[in-house]
Symmetry: C2
Subunit: 339 residues, 2 copies
Amino acid sequence: MISSHNPRIPAQSPIVQEVLSGDFRAVARLITLVENGAPEAVPYLRELFPQTGRSLSIGITGAPGAGKSTLVDGLAGYFRDREKKVGIIAVDPTSPFTGGAILGDRIRMQSRFLDSGTYIRSMATRGNLGGLARATADVLLILDAAGFNIVLIETVGVGQAEVEIARTAEVTLVLLVPGMGDDVQTLKAGIMEIGDIFVINKADHAGVDRIEAEVKSGLAMSNRPDKWMPLVVKTVATEGKGIAECAQAIESWRLFQEDAHLRREKVYQIQKERLLALVSSEVQRNLLRNGRMASMLDDFARQVGDRRMDPFSAAESLLAAWERRGKTVDGENSEGREP
Amino acid sequence: MISSHNPRIPAQSPIVQEVLSGDFRAVARLITLVENGAPEAVPYLRELFPQTGRSLSIGITGAPGAGKSTLVDGLAGYFRDREKKVGIIAVDPTSPFTGGAILGDRIRMQSRFLDSGTYIRSMATRGNLGGLARATADVLLILDAAGFNIVLIETVGVGQAEVEIARTAEVTLVLLVPGMGDDVQTLKAGIMEIGDIFVINKADHAGVDRIEAEVKSGLAMSNRPDKWMPLVVKTVATEGKGIAECAQAIESWRLFQEDAHLRREKVYQIQKERLLALVSSEVQRNLLRNGRMASMLDDFARQVGDRRMDPFSAAESLLAAWERRGKTVDGENSEGREP
C-alpha cells in the first residue's frame, strides 16, 4: 500500500506510511511499541520526525478532581467543531511493577472513539528509564506526524513528572477549583509558574472570587522572561461554560508567541530538555542491557547496601567502566546501541 | 571541635563531625547544599555514608487532602514517646523556574521544631537533573548519619516521581480516604502495588466500608514476590485514632522482612535504582557543565527544533561525543568530574 497522503515522501516502512496517512490502528501499534520502550520504535520515530512540527500541543494539569478530563473533553469538542483533528494523551500514573494501564479516563471519554477526527490514548509507563516524559514526547511526535492539529495532554496528579510533562507541551493550562484544601493550595504554589493560562473550573461553586484573587495576586509577582501575562479563565466544564473563552485564551497565547518570535525559542528549549532526557535514559538502558555492566551494577548495589562502598564512588566507577567499555574487544562493544 | 559521638571515626570535616553528633544546624546546612545540587556536598556524603544503615525509612504517599501531614505528625509523636529520634522529609512539588520552597507543611508542623528529637524539612528541587528522588535519597543519608532512628518521608501528590520516592523508602504507606472521586480512584490503582501498608484515614466518614472492601479485593489479586500480604489499617489521624495500630503494622512488616531475610534484598534493590539515577544525573550534569558539550547540546536542540536533525540521532551523537571527550587534550578532560 502506497500512501498518497504526502507526495514528498520516498519509500518508507509500511507502519510509517500508515501513520502518516492518519491510520488509527498504525498509530496505536506504534504507541504501544513506545510505551513498551521497544528499541524497534526508534527507527520509525526517526522516519516520522521530519513530518512533524505542525501540531499545537496543549498541556492540561491540576489536582485530582479539578475536572481535567471534562475540560479536555470540552476543548476536544470545540476544536472538532472547527474541523481540527484532535489527539488526546491522558497520562496516568501506573504501577511500577506490572505496568498495567488504567482505564478510567478511557472509558469516560469513550464516546469520542466513534469520531474519526479524535484519537485518545491513556499512557502507561514502565519503570523509571526516562519514563513518562520520554514516552509522552514520543507519542506527541507520532500524533503530530499523523496529522493531528491539536494534541491535548492531560496529566493526572501534580508532581515532578507531571511538571516535566507540562514542559513538553507548547502551552500549559493549570486547572484550579474553588474551595481547595490546604494541601492543594500548597500544590498550587508549585505549579503557579508553569501555567500559561489558569482555568478556574467549577466557577459556579462558592469561593470562586477568592481563588481568582489569589491567582491574580500570585501572577502579579510573576516575572516571566517572555513577558507573557498569564490569562485567567473561568469555566463550568460540565456545562460547557467557558470552553470557548478557554480556546480563545490559547489562541491569544499562540499569537503572542508568534508576534514575539518566541515559538522557536520555546521549541528549542523543549528539545534541549528532551535531548538531556534521551541521553540519560540511553545511558541507563545501556547499563542494564550490557551483560558486564549489568553484573557490575548488581555487584556495586550489594557493596553499597552492605556499606562497603559509597554510592557516589560506585556511580563514578560505573560511569568510568561504561566509558571504557567501547575500547574492549569482547563482543560487547556494539551492545546497547540503537540499530 | 572534636566529636566524641563515635570513637571509631578518624579526623573528619567539621560539618561531618557536627552531623554525626546530631547537630541540627549542620544537618540543615548540608541538606541545603544537597538541595542546591552543590557538588561540594558529595565528599561530605561520602564521609557520612559508612555511618548509615541504622534508620528505618517510612514513605507515606497519597492524594492531596488525604491527611498525610496529620498522619506523619501522629506517627512522629508515637515514635518520640518511645524515645526514638524522628526525621521528617516533606517532599513538595516546586517551581522548576524559581526553585522556591513551599512553607505550608513546615508551618503546620512547626510545633515539633521545639522538640530536639524531631527534625523536619520541606524539600525543594531544581530542574530535572535527577531531581527529587536523588535529593531525597541524599537527605535520608544525612538524617540516618545524624542518628535519626525513624525517617518519615511524606510525598505530596501522586505521580511518577512520588512513586519513585516511595521506592526509596524501606516501607511504604499508602493513604486513602472514603468517598474519593473518580480521579482519585484512578490514582489509587496506580499506587495499589507500591503499598506495604494501606491506611484508610478519615475512617469516621461515610463510605469507609466500601473503600476497605475495594482495597482488600485489590490486594486479594496481588502477587508480590516477597509474599507479604499488605495490611490495612483504619485511622482518624486528626483525633490520633489508629496511630498505634499503624505503628504496629510497620513493626509487623519489619519483623516479616527480617524473618524472611528480605531486608537486605530490599536495600540492594533501593541502591541499584539509586546508582542508575546517580549515573544518569551525572551524565546530564557533565553535558551541561562541559563547555564544548553544552554548546553542542544547544546547537543540536536548535537543529532538532528546525527539523534538520531527529532527536534520536542528536542524542546518539551527544553520547558519542561525550564518550570521546576524555580522549582529547584541550583542557576540558577533567571538567565535570567530582573532586
